[in-house]
């Protein structure tokens, strides 16, 4: 197997995978008995330990058979995925079709196994899809999914991801999206579970007028580490990219945000914006932020901002002076803090799911 990346690699400076390298993983055996499955009243595709479970899944006309991966990648995790991928969801939405919403569920159960699904989503010109992803499980495992997204002209994908893995799990996801002319990729990721988790985005705006929204929320406690890494490449004129990453960290949790915006020479009129804010609920929580702008065009609007702070004492007192108990007051302010990151979530079932998860995080805090 290709070696795991180490902190010597710039892209992995803040996320140390030694705890992962220390475990010898096996390929998944028979699929586990499923935990209770999320039901959002939309068509569902279920993978257990990385293996497709047709008996738990809806019939979907857009679903294509899995084909093996032939790829050599310079990214270690993508390369490992290419070497081991045995299953994955392949969705092909024909031009002009609105495919509605699909729920992709990954469930895993312990036993130190590793699985490397390769998902592929292709939207034809003008096609639309809302994909809601939920990853959950029990015990120690390594989930290393790669998702390849291709959006033709005017296609629109809304992508909502809930990483709710076991607290002992490793979740290292790579999402690659290529957007043609005026295509739109709206994405929101919530990192809640895992001992070490990362969502790494590579988004290429290759056609004029494309739009990418890569929002995320990290809600972590204990000794969890969550990492959002993104490279957004503006390779055509007049594209917009937006990123809002909000972290709520308690205990000795660590959050990482590395965001790079690359603007090619031809990508005039680029409009790129990146904002990351962290709320540290304890003295031992930590946030590492690395924004990077690489701009080779001259007529662009690109900016980034970052703030790190604690809950505001004035705001807390204002709420308490109105009779609201301290825990409820804190919960209100934390939920308020997350608002902007959630603004791009327009799917009702996705929004309801995230609200429920956030409420559970608050209750467990």
């Amino acid at each position: 197997m290709t070696a795991l990346p180490t902190r010597k690699l710039e892209a992995w400076r803040y996320t140390d995978l030694r705890a992962l390298s220390a475990i010898s993983f096996t390929a998944p055996a028979s699929p586990p008995t499923p935990l209770s499955l999320p039901d959002l009243a939309i068509p569902r595709l279920v993978f257990l330990n990385g293996i497709f479970a047709p008996h738990l899944s809806s019939e979907l006309s857009f679903l294509q058979p899995f084909t093996p991966v032939a790829e050599h990648s310079a990214q270690p995790l993508t390369q490992i995925n290419a070497e081991h991928a045995q299953a994955g969801m392949t969705l092909l939405i024909p031009p002009g079709v609105d495919a509605g919403s699909v729920l992709l569920v990954s469930q895993a159960s312990g036993g130190s196994m590793a699985f490397h699904p390769r998902h592929r989503i292709t939207l034809g010109a003008g096609a639309r899809l809302t994909l809601i992803e939920v990853a959950q499980g029990d015990g120690v495992y390594w989930h290393n999914p790669v998702m390849d997204i291709t959006l033709a002209d005017d296609a629109a994908l809304a992508h909502y991801r809930l990483q709710d893995e076991s607290r002992e799990a490793f979740h290292l996801a790579t999402i690659r999206a290529d957007l043609a002319k005026t295509a739109s990729y709206e994405s929101f990721t919530a990192l809640l579970g895992g001992q070490i988790s990362r969502a790494e985005f590579h988004v290429r705006l290759q056609g004029t007028g494309g739009h990418a929204h890569i929002n995320a929320a990290l809600l972590l406690g204990g000794s969890q580490l969550g990492d959002i890494t993104s490279v957004i490449t503006h390779a055509a004129k007049g594209c917009t990219s937006r990123q809002t990453v909000k972290s709520v960290l308690s205990g000795a949790a660590r959050g990482v945000f590395q965001g790079r915006i690359e603007v090619d020479r031809i990508a005039q009129k680029t409009d790129g914006y990146q904002m990351t804010q962290a709320l540290l609920l304890s003295d031992t929580a930590e946030m590492d932020i690395k924004p990077e702008l690489q701009i080779f065009a001259d007529d662009v609007k690109c900016s980034h901002g970052a703030t790190i702070g604690a809950l505001d004492a004035e705001q807390l007192f204002y709420l308490r002076s109105r009779g609201i108990a301290p825990d409820d007051a804190r919960a209100m302010l934390i939920r308020a803090f997350l608002t902007e990151a959630l603004e791009s979530v327009t799917s009702e079932p996705a929004l309801a799911m995230f609200e429920t998860e956030f409420a559970q995080f608050q209750a467990a805090r």
Binding site: R320, S321, R322, G323, I324, P326
Partner: protein
């Protein structure tokens, strides 16, 4: 009844309240005036339970509750309400959600049934109307982008809905236009009754034309240096604080 006895407090090593004595019987409204920096806001914060003050002596009892021993939310449940001199903005928190959460917290503490969203909205709309406030004030984020006067009205709206037994209004009249001043005064007067008392902190006698106080006190350099009837406010308006020994 609010009974403040020899109350002293400091921030860091700065002595701000130096033995405040004040008695506000139920059903009465008392005005507190005094120069900038005298300690009026400090007094109201200490009564409401804000962090950062060290009480070095004395106490404050409200209806038998030892206020200084209680956390802020318990004081609110006991009926204390502070209208802030500078109301706090809460981005991301809807005003309706905020006020309903507060109202239900207070109702729970008083063993009254909670209000659902519909019942609350009905109540809130009526209160808005009586304060000549737009309905959209409920939909906006708490105090975010509110004009100075709108923030003050929003404080009075909260008071009207929370129905406190003791309201401390810290310069609620500052920044209000003449019409708003009357509306806010009407809002306070509407609360008048045997079980309502108020401390009205103000710099302007004009407010007291509309909210006629039972007593007027002057706080200077951390002490009440003079008390009297409404005529004291008129005298202060004419002659200022000069000549009032601290």
């Amino acid at each position: 009844m609010l009974e403040i006895k020899n109350l002293s407090a400091r921030i860091g090593d700065k002595e701000i309240l130096r033995g405040v004595d004040l008695l506000v019987p139920d059903g009465e409204i008392h005005a507190v005036m005094g120069p900038n920096g005298a300690g009026k806001s400090t007094l109201s914060y200490v009564l409401a339970g804000r962090d950062g003050y060290e009480v070095t002596g004395g106490g404050a009892i409200y209806n038998g509750h030892d206020l200084l021993a209680m956390p802020p939310e318990a004081r609110a449940a006991a009926g204390v309400f502070l209208a802030f001199q500078y109301p706090v903005e809460l981005p991301g928190v809807g005003n309706a959600n905020f006020i309903r959460t507060a109202l239900n917290a207070v109702r729970r503490a008083r063993a009254e049934p909670e209000l659902d969203a519909v019942a609350f909205l009905k109540l809130a709309r009526a209160a808005l109307k009586s304060l000549s406030m737009q309905d959209d004030m409920l939909k906006r984020n708490v105090n975010v982008g509110f004009s100075g006067g709108e923030k003050k009205r929003n404080e009075v709206l909260q008071m009207a809905l929370l129905q406190p037994g003791l309201a401390i209004l810290d310069e609620t009249d500052s920044g209000l236009d003449i019409d708003a001043l009357k509306i806010v005064a009407d809002g306070v007067n509407a609360q008048r009754g045997l079980k309502f008392s108020a401390l009205v902190i103000t710099h302007y006698q004009r407010l007291l034309d509309y909210i006629v106080p039972d007593a007027v006190h002057v706080l200077a350099e951390g002490r009440i240096v003079k008390s009297g009837g409404p005529e004291l406010a008129l005298a202060l308006e004419a002659h200022g604080y000069a000549g009032l020994a601290a």
